[in-house]
Amino acid sequence: MERGLYIAASGMVAEQMRQDQIANDLANASTPGYKADRVTQRAFADLLLSNTATGQGVGGLTTGVAADRMVTDVSPQPVRDTGEPLDLAIVGDGWFGVQTAQGTRYTRNGQFTAAGDGTLTDQLGNPVLGRNGQPVKVDGSGHVNASEVGVFALADPAKQGDNLFSGTAGGIASGAVRTGALEGSGVDPARTMVDMIASFRAFEAGQKVIQTIDESLHKTATQVASPNGGA
C-alpha cells in the first residue's frame, strides 16, 4: 500500500525535472543556434509480486519512474537573413569551432564580433577557428571570408552553456557558412507549450494519487477494527 506513495512521488519529481527543461527552452526561444532538449523517463526495475501463502505469481510492480536521459535535438534550424557582416550561419550540418581556455568548443550560434586585433570572436571573446584550425581574421572593411571559417563535424555533442558544446571532433563537415544570416532557435513554442501542459497534468495526477492513498491509509488507521465499526 504505502509503496504507491513513493511511486507517485517519483513521478512528480520526474515531471519537475521536465518542467525545468521546458522553462530553459522557453527562456532560449530567441537564442540563435540554440538546440532544444527533451527529457525522457524510465521506469525503475519491476518487482515480481507473489502470493505469500501459495507462492503463486501475482504480477509485476514498478517502483516508480526517473528522468533518465536528456536528448538534445541538434538538427539544423531555418536560417534568417540579418545583413550583419559578422552574423554567420551554417547551412546544413556542422559546427563552428571556438578556442576557449578549456580547449576547443563548438557552437551553432554565429553572432560573432571582432577583437581589436581583427580576430573573429564569439560573444565572450573566444577566437573562432578557421578551416586550418587557426583563428579567423576580419578584413579591413569588417567582413570575413565565409570559405575561411571552419565547419567541423562533431560526435556526441553535449551542452556546456554559453552556446558552447563539447564532443568528439570528426574532421570537416558538409555544411556551408553564410554571412549576414543567423540560424534560428530550435525551440518550437507551440510544441513546448503543449509539453508543458501535458507534464503539468501528469504532475497534478501524481498529487491526486498521493491524496487518494493518503485517504485510504487514514481509513485504515481510524476505521478498521474500531469498536463501533467505523461509524
Partner: protein, 246 residues
C-alpha cells in the same frame, strides 16, 4: 526547489534587454549616422539534476542577452544640398577633437564653420586635421571632393578631410552625441582605404530599419510572454506540491 522558475526569469530579463536595445534604435530612427545595436543571446550554465535522474539530465539556467556592438551597415544617403553636409560612403569615420582635448570618431557629417573658420561637427567638435577657411569665404563656395580635398571655389586646396577606420568597430566606446572613442577592444584607428568616399551635399541617415525593429519588438514581447507562462506553470506546480498534505 524548482530551478525552472529562475531559468524562465533569466529568459525574461534577456528579452527585456533586447527591448531596451530596440527602443533605443527606434528613438534614433532619424539620427544622422546612427548605427543600430546588435543584441547577442546565449544560454547559461547547465547543472546536473542529480538524485534519481540520469547523469545526462541537466537543468539549464536560462538565457542572457548583451549588446555585442553595432551594425556597420551603410545608412541610406539623403540629399540635402547643404554644402557642409558630407556623408561617408563605405567604412570609416571622421576624427574630431572634443572640448576636453581628447579625440573621438563620428560618422555624423553635418558640418559647420566655427567663429575661427574651422570645420566642426554640429556640436562644435573640431574636425582633425583642422581645416580653416579664409575669412570672407562663404560655405556655398566650398567644394569637397570624394577623396576629402576641400577647396574654396576653384582656388587652391585648403586641406583634406581624412577618414579613419578601426579593425573592430564593435569595440568602439560610445560617448553619446554620435561620438565614439577608440580603445584596445576596437584597435588603433588607421587611414581608411580607397573604398570609402565622401559625398558633399548628402547626409547618411540612420541605418535602423523601422520594419525590422518592429518585428524584433513583437518577437521579444512574445518570447517574454512565453517565459512568463513557464513561471506561472512552475508556480502552479508549487501550489499543487503544497496541497499534497491537505
Amino acid at each position: 526547489m524548482l530551478s525552472g522558475l529562475y531559468s524562465a526569469a533569466a529568459g525574461m530579463a534577456a528579452q527585456q534587454q533586447r527591448i531596451d536595445g530596440v527602443a533605443n534604435d527606434l528613438a534614433n530612427a532619424s539620427t544622422t549616422g546612427y548605427k543600430h545595436v546588435r543584441v547577442g543571446f546565449r544560454d547559461l550554465l547547465y547543472n546536473a539534476q542529480g538524485g534519481s535522474a540520469g547523469p545526462t539530465v541537466l537543468a539549464g539556467a536560462g538565457a542572457a542577452a548583451g549588446f555585442i556592438g553595432r551594425s556597420q551597415e551603410q545608412g541610406a544617403l539623403q540629399t540635402t544640398d547643404q554644402p557642409l553636409d558630407v556623408a561617408i560612403q563605405g567604412p570609416g569615420f571622421f576624427q574630431v577633437k572634443r572640448p576636453d582635448g581628447s579625440l573621438a570618431l563620428t560618422r555624423d557629417g553635418s558640418l559647420r564653420l566655427d567663429s575661427q573658420g574651422r570645420l566642426t561637427t554640429s556640436d562644435g567638435n573640431v574636425l582633425q586635421p583642422e581645416i580653416a577657411v579664409p575669412r570672407g569665404t562663404s560655405a556655398d563656395q566650398l567644394s569637397i571632393a570624394g577623396d576629402g580635398t576641400v577647396r574654396a571655389g576653384a582656388g587652391r586646396a585648403l586641406g583634406r578631410i581624412e577618414l579613419l577606420t578601426v579593425r573592430a568597430p564593435d569595440g568602439l566606446q560610445p560617448l553619446g552625441g554620435n561620438l565614439f572613442a577608440a580603445n584596445a577592444a576596437s584597435g588603433t584607428p588607421t587611414a581608411a582605404g580607397n573604398d570609402s568616399t565622401l559625398r558633399q551635399g548628402t547626409l547618411e541617415g540612420s541605418n535602423v530599419d523601422v520594419g525590422d525593429a518592429m518585428v524584433d519588438m513583437i518577437d521579444a514581447q512574445r518570447s517574454f510572454q512565453l517565459a512568463s507562462k513557464a513561471i506561472q506553470m512552475q508556480d502552479q506546480m508549487l501550489e499543487i506540491a503544497n496541497q499534497v498534505k491537505r
